[in-house]
């Protein structure tokens, strides 16, 4: 059984990481400020992932080697 619940994709057709390598920074800034843009979605998701209680702490460590 494959669970898809909890997917962070509002629209599965949109990529999770939009390609902004060739987009100049002012344009990236505009898009990050536009809540409807996938860039803003990525930033929001990334920031949320820093705090989500269902995720591991931001530092993943090995203390038992």
């Amino acid at each position: 059984v494959v669970s898809t619940a909890g997917s962070t994709r509002g629209n599965p057709d949109l990529p999770l990481v939009p390609d902004v390598q060739g987009v100049l920074l002012p344009e990236v800034a505009d898009r990050a400020a536009d809540a409807d843009d996938p860039v803003a979605g990525l930033v929001q998701r990334f920031m949320d992932s820093m705090e989500s209680p269902s995720r591991v702490p931001i530092t993943m460590f090995n203390s038992a080697i």
Binding site: L16, V17, D19, A32, F46, N62
Partner: protein, 773 residues
């Protein structure tokens, strides 16, 4: 009761220029004729008392006072000195005092600059562009050009000693001027920011428009906007920044646009409280309130209907504006520009058509270069450009090491993540209302320029791991953070990129904990008694500090597989793990790190060459942790510092090899997890795992399994040596941990399809080991 934090203090009511577009002398209001020429000490003192009283009563964080005129420099050095002393003595004890002066720059000299430096007065200068444009209006009473005199003043402000005083330029638009010539002339003065002002006009006295032109001001401004964007927005332009910011629902930085309330009062040379100066264009006496600093407090004048209307922001808009789809950007335009005899200010701006057209251009240009929105129903969806891994790269990563093509794709996707995070920080950078704000704005502007001109250098700096940690800290400040200081780090990033690109620049950097930082390059310890900022010069030859000594500490590097890897004990944002980072390593410790890392990388390459290849591709920095007694196997990877592996120096080289291997697995999986949904984030169940006593969430299980898969590979390689007595036992332990974790994830139905594919690939590696036994 509304609060007032901005004051325009008229210190001189006359001017040494005779600009024919000046609203003070040439428009409807003529009260200047009745005002005292100079602000006397008694009036200045009473104004300061009123400002301080209001700030104290309402516990205002900051009060802004702009010295204005006429021409404020006509008050002379001693007069200005007395006013500044009075303001500081009365206001500074109760709130933070931000001082600015708006001048035509003609009389600016070193003595005045020294005075402004002493009091921290920011200097804004009026300049209408190139000489032809400036001469069109801005002349001396005898008709002589003021252009050369103003440029002499601006040259002073560009000197390193005074650069921090330079607030920017104000340019009044005239559509008869060549917009590109104006833009280039303003840029040539190297201002930290500039603004383009629509000439004051009303419905009674509309602006000059060429025959047949519907929106000539939009066309003129739009020409500059296009050029500015094509240039990579090299300097903040307040009008454009404000329109774009307001359009996105954020604040405006000018009362000319946006729906923010305008908490500003003017104090004239006779002590009269007045409303915004621009109202002088509406009708004679328009700014008057009938109140003065001797008899009335700020609270009393804030209750005046005209002042209250401005404080109400969007509430003061006419019905036409309130129903307009672009009002959130233009805010109905400047209040004075709405005036019409009969209906007063209850109208749209006389520049309504221009503002609408300009806003449309600002938003349309953006839309044309961005990925398409989800299309309307029944039309085929247009794909949005996004990152995907090459064919088979996902499966090779799932098997454990991955391959160079997959790692390169992963690094490209991280570059987009980093650009998005840095862009989000940049989106919050305004023109800067204080020194740190201006440093951040300058840094952002330079970074944008370099991004267009030297993209490789910008990538090198911004993809440095602790830049991500910095961006996250800016976007979600910690309780102990200093957000202004953090944002000013943009200037350090820009300086580091300029240094790598060998682009000569001069800029001001913030001093943090006694040093200025160029991420990935080094830190310069400075004497903090000389201030919390430092002017630096970057040239193709290197990097130098203006005006004071400093002690340079480079970020140290080792070479792994031909690539530089820093051992960073300097970066101010490196403290992003659960463990504290080590301070600057003494030389013997650094040498021990260097030797151990080189040997560990070589050992990894000998035993697991495929893993070693991708570790070398992804590793940018090793972060030494602060040593603790009796524990030499601590290591960590932060989600928001991709490319950095934190660790305490272990006792032996083999353990260091395993730490590198293990932690890079976490980094790879974190990057993969940003590209693909791998598990159900809403599932809060915890699972028992072999490697820890405490139950772990699904992501923890996945991360542990992926890291231990690689460690098992290490022991699998070691157990080929029959003399290695611990290898077989340790390999079996790790293999069982991984197998049990994968089974637990599969049994729990917590994985998405991509997650199942990942776990399936890891399972195949485990199965292959079983077969080999």
């Amino acid at each position: 009761l509304e609060l007032v934090s901005q004051y325009v203090l008229k210190v001189h009511s006359r001017c040494d220029l005779s600009c024919d577009h000046c609203y003070v002398y040439e428009h409807a209001d003529q009260t200047w004729r009745t005002k005292p020429r100079r602000l006397i000490e008694l009036t200045a003192g009473q104004a300061a008392i009123r400002i301080a009283e209001h700030a104290a009563q309402h516990r205002l964080d900051t009060v802004h006072v702009v010295l204005h005129g006429g021409e404020p420099l006509l008050l002379g050095h001693d007069g200005l000195s007395a006013v500044l002393q009075t303001l500081r003595a009365r206001i500074a004890p109760v709130t933070r005092l931000s001082l600015r002066i708006q001048t035509n720059g003609v009389l600016l000299d070193e003595r005045l600059c020294d005075l402004f430096a002493e009091y921290g007065v920011q200097v804004g200068v009026s300049l209408d562009g190139d000489q032809a444009a400036n001469d069109r209006h801005r002349r001396f009473p005898d008709g002589r050009s003021s252009h050369a005199a103003v440029r002499r003043g601006l040259a002073l402000l560009r000197r390193p000693a005074y650069r921090q005083l330079y607030a920017g330029l104000l340019c009044t638009v005239d559509v008869a001027n060549d917009p590109i010539a104006v833009y280039e002339a303003l840029l040539a003065e190297q201002p930290p920011a500039f603004d383009l002002l629509l000439p004051h006009a009303t419905w009674d006295h509309p602006p000059s428009r060429p025959p047949g032109a519907a929106a000539p001001y939009a066309a003129w401004l739009g020409t500059i906007y296009d050029r500015w964007r094509a240039d990579g927005c090299p300097v903040p332009i307040r009008l454009f920044d404000s329109l774009r910011s307001a359009w996105h629902g954020h604040r405006s930085w000018t009362e000319a646009v946006g729906t923010d309330s305008v908490d500003l009062l003017v104090i004239d040379t006779d002590g009269a409280w007045e409303q915004a100066d621009s109202l002088k264009t509406a009708f004679d006496g328009a700014p008057a309130t009938g109140r003065n600093v001797f008899d009335h407090s700020v609270d009393q004048v804030a209750a005046h209907p005209g002042v209250a209307a401005r404080l109400a922001g969007a509430g003061a808009l006419c019905a036409t504006c309130r129903a307009c789809p672009v009002v959130r950007a233009c805010g109905g335009g400047l209040y004075a520009h709405r005036y019409k005899t009969g209906s007063g200010f209850d109208n749209p701006s006389v520049y309504c058509a221009d503002l609408k057209a300009l806003i449309e251009q600002l938003t349309t240009v953006r839309s044309s270069t961005r990925p398409a929105r989800p299309p309307p129903a029944a039309s085929a969806p247009e794909p949005v450009a996004g990152h995907v891994l090459p064919p088979d790269a996902f499966d090779r990563l799932a098997a454990g090491p991955g391959d160079p093509a997959g790692m390169a794709a992963l690094l490209d996707s991280r570059w987009s993540v980093i650009r998005s995070l840095v862009g989000a920080v940049g989106a919050g950078i305004g023109p800067g209302h204080d020194e740190l704000g201006r440093i951040a704005a300058d840094g952002w502007a330079l970074l944008c320029t370099l991004d267009a001109e030297a993209p490789d250098a910008v990538r090198e700096v911004l993809s440095y791991p602790y830049v991500q940690a910095w961006a996250v800290r800016c976007l979600r400040p910690a309780q102990d953070a200093d957000p202004g200081l953090d944002r000013a780090h943009l200037a350090g990033l820009a300086a580091a990129a300029a240094l790598r690109a060998q682009v000569p620049v001069e800029l001001v950097l913030p001093v943090r904990a006694g040093a200025i930082y160029l991420p990935s390059v080094g830190a310069l310890a400075v004497d903090t008694s000389a201030g919390q900022t430092a002017s630096v010069r970057v040239s193709p030859d290197g990097f130098s500090l203006a005006g004071r000594p400093g002690r340079w500490q480079p970020v140290r590097q080792v070479t792994i597989a031909g690539r530089p890897v820093t051992v960073d004990d300097l970066d101010p944002f490196r403290d992003c793990q659960v463990w504290a980072p080590a301070e600057r390593l003494p030389d013997p410790s650094w040498q021990a790190w260097r030797r151990a890392l080189e040997a560990a990388a070589a050992g990894l390459a000998a035993r697991l060459p495929k893993y070693a290849e991708v570790v070398a591709m992804g590793l940018r920095s090793v972060l030494p942790l602060r040593p603790e007694q009796g524990d030499h196997s601590r290591s960590g990877t932060a989600r928001h510092a991709f490319g950095a592996l934190a660790m305490a120096l272990p006792a032996d080289v083999d353990t260091l090899s395993v730490l590198l291997l293990h932690e890079m697995q976490h980094a790879k999986l974190a990057a993969l997890g940003d590209l693909y949904d791998l598990f159900d984030r809403g599932d809060g169940r915890l699972f028992q795992v072999g490697w820890r006593a405490d139950p772990r969430p699904a992501e923890g299980v996945l991360h542990g399994a992926y890291a231990h898969l690689a460690v098992a590979e290490w022991w699998q390689a070691r157990r080929q040596d029959p003399a290695d007595r611990v290898a077989e036992r340790t390999f079996q332990l790790y293999r069982s941990w991984v197998a049990e974790a994968l089974n637990a994830l599969l049994r729990a139905s917590v994985l998405t399809a991509d997650g199942e594919r990942l776990v399936g690939g890891m399972g195949q590696t485990v199965e292959a080991w079983s077969d080999a036994q």
